[in-house]
Symmetry: C2
Subunit: 473 residues, 2 copies
């Protein structure tokens, strides 16, 4: 029998005792998952303390712990010793950001980060030129699963632009950055492992970690990006195995990490023997002389440089640097996730890079990025001077607390798609709210201007939400 009577005791979550089956821990985990997924438990709800639940259900404390652990690794809840256990902030939202609504788009897209798709014409041209050259049949077999000598050479050349000089033995061709991250996590991590990330993190990475039951440890940040002291502290507390960083232009905060901070972070990485996963998809909008973090910890790093944002998104090619000691595992991971990246696609990218077209695309994109940012600054000021001035999106602080879901819906109703910061939260330790405003997915500058105007009205013209009680919280 329970020690206390819980009949009139308030509990935010009260699993039905009659529904409990053996095994108990599994049964509890399933009930909790059901209630979160179906919205009976709102994001950020504090769950009862484990001891209280154990007492209420008249079972051992560690049985609750085990049940909670299952849900935590799925990303449904997060727990903090001394504080309690909470429902994850982003579960109500469809976390992954994917373009499934291409048809009948009747809004201005400031949600997705499309990388100025007009430039795909240049890539299309390159394909045509290639196919006129002939010899395509040699690109259509199983040979060179991690990249032909020519393709690796091209990768090395491209990486050198971003100040990473590597040997051919440490380079592989992969199918874009998402595939790179997937194979890295599968190859070098296991379920239950922990990876440090920014408080606000790229949702596709969060979702991948959730699917693989890898626990993300959010690290506090400041104006310069991830805070090295907090990283060090969390490493001591948590036995963290890896760290995921996007230093050239953090997604979503747009912070460009300066060299001093990069070195500090590298020092902590070294000290704690972390595996660094450096996703440098925005390397091309960083200052030319900036060095990647991997430069400082080459022997414990995976560096990923996708061409999706810089050159062409749909071609699905990335270059991956791996430290010597990861070689066997990474090669096995490539083999296991994709067998190989189609050499046809790599050849297209190589054509762009080796003819100089790639440099041209990049410099032209930078000009447009600058223009779009000028437009943005006509409506909002840039919040943090450390943000990348050429970022394809901006990180707009909100003055009031909104219900994330309601806000996005309201914006869509008024013709703009935009993402609230909750989508990027690993755990809700941050009080501040933001919007990520994409500048690169609109058809043109006029549309962007129209969208920004609507956004400003929604934020500052009170008539927009006065009839919406649940919007502001």
């Amino acid at each position: 029998m329970p020690v206390n009577s819980f009949e009139n005791y308030p509990m935010t979550w009260r699993p039905s005792k009659t529904q409990l089956k053996s095994p108990l821990y599994m049964s509890i985990a399933n009930l909790l998952e059901y209630d979160i997924v179906n919205g009976y438990l709102a994001p950020n709800t504090k769950l009862p303390p484990q001891r209280e639940l154990a007492d209420y259900l008249d079972i051992n404390l560690s049985t609750i712990t085990r049940a909670f652990k299952i849900c935590e690794l799925k990303g449904l809840i997060y727990a903090q010793t001394g504080k309690g256990t909470f429902v994850s902030p982003n579960f109500g939202l469809e976390i992954s950001i994917v373009d499934s609504t291409i048809e009948n788009q009747n809004y201005i897209d400031m949600g997705l980060i499309k990388p100025f798709d007009d430039f795909n014409l240049v890539t299309a041209e390159a394909i045509k030129k290639l196919s006129d050259k002939g010899c395509l049949e040699n690109l259509l077999n199983y040979s060179y699963p991690i990249g032909s000598p020519y393709h690796k050479m091209t990768a090395m050349k491209w990486l050198k632009n971003f100040n990473l000089s590597v040997k051919a033995d440490n380079v592989a061709i992969t199918s874009g950055s998402q595939n790179s991250v997937t194979l890295t996590l599968i190859s070098l991590f296991g379920a239950g492992d922990k990876i440090a990330v920014d408080m606000y993190t790229y949702p596709n990475f969060i979702e991948l970690a959730n699917m693989l039951n890898i626990k993300l440890i959010p690290i506090k940040g400041d104006a310069f990006g991830m805070n090295p002291e907090d990283l060090d502290v969390q490493c001591k507390l948590n036995s963290i195995q890896g760290i995921y960083l996007t230093p050239s232009c953090n997604n979503p905060s747009a912070i460009l990490m300066n060299m001093q901070r990069k070195e500090e972070i590298a020092r902590i990485i070294k000290k704690n023997k972390l595996i660094l996963i450096e996703d440098d998809i925005f390397s091309f909008i960083a200052p030319r002389h900036y060095l990647p973090i991997s430069y400082f910890v080459p022997e414990q790093s995976i560096y990923i440089c996708s061409v999706s944002k810089s050159l062409c998104s749909g071609i699905r090619v990335a270059f991956l640097y791996f430290a010597d000691k990861f070689s066997a595992n990474i090669i096995r991971g490539i083999h296991t996730t994709t067998i190989k990246t189609p050499a046809l696609n790599v050849e297209v990218v190589a054509e762009l890079i080796n003819t100089g077209l790639a440099e041209k695309i990049v410099s032209d994109k930078l000009i447009i990025a600058k223009e779009r940012n000028e437009i943005y600054k006509k409506y909002f000021k840039i919040n943090n001077e450390n943000e990348n001035p050429l970022s394809f999106y901006r990180w707009l602080p909100l003055d009031q607390k909104y219900d994330a879901n309601e806000f996005e819906k309201l914006a869509l109703k008024h013709g703009i798609r935009i993402y609230h910061s909750n989508r990027f939260l690993v755990a809700n330790l941050e009080e501040k709210q933001f919007l990520r405003v994409s500048l690169s997915s609109c058809l043109d500058s006029n549309e962007l201007e129209k969208g920004l105007k609507i956004l400003k009205d929604i934020l500052y013209d009170t008539t927009y939400y006065k009839n919406n009680n649940s919007l502001i919280i």
Copy 2:
């Protein structure tokens, strides 16, 4: 103190007590992994009973169980209640079968299954035609991550050839069959889950499962393929969640599962609520009227049809059918592993399929496959009448017991690459040994004939191995 003295007691594995650190279970798992990976414990070695080890180390039985579980999920060992725990049979061999030795190839390849790469000329032609048509830029963006309407339609058309009629809502385009299996396992299974497989299974699947810590349960087979009774028995014992099958031409056993066996297996799948992963990469060499197993259990199936063997290996495209209830998870898995399959590549495949070139490639390949099999039959007879007569490889029973590693080395020394059945073993419950003899990777029929001659000599001319003491075991 231990209850018994172990000083003079024989134990196949004796972890050093002084090296044990806390946590004990982790420490023990690491020691065991080290000794297996470094060859101190040979494949198939029987480990001491868990109770004995616990007694020896003076710790609790379940601590050993936990340590063993970690290694078992990595595929290093396998355990059987009542019998004992054994080192996995295939760990000494480089399990994944990958073409990394393309340079300086000075042997006849009867190892890999290359799908008659000369036909890549047809695909190359199709690419040229496509690029002349123009409009490629629309294939180079983030749109339609699971496949455009046209590409899905093409997928449905192709699947219909193999008697699977599906709705557009249940089809996705993926990046080849390995990618399909990866995303399926990530989306629908978790670490510790169990999947039933044939006793001899495609090594890439074994390796993937090992990396994801999914446990494979080998099911006994007979001349017709997987045995339904044993499947049912194992399901009852093991709480198995899924099953992986390649019924049109099992890899490596070449068995073509007949319709009766398919229906029996389907019945067991239904009864035990398994998720069926049907990898039908060889559907095009099955009889025209054969139905896939998924036809009988459409509501709990994932059906994968890659074009790598039928049309072109390096283009990396597969079509995937998923049951309604898996829809959200599978779409999320596609997004999480690759974002999307490059539409350029899908367009190439669609061009082949919709112009009729695909049918032509397939029928031409069947003719060559038949020829190659005729040649094979000049040297060896086909062992099992249920094997697919058009298989790209044959499954040759060995009369003697060889050391797998030594045999492959000897063959290579004499100019042929060939794979021993141990590479395909999940657990060594089978006494019989085989060779998988690829017929499709040689340059031409002459080379194949040369290779088969060498193989026959190695097997029956004793001078080939009389000086090799460790070859026969």
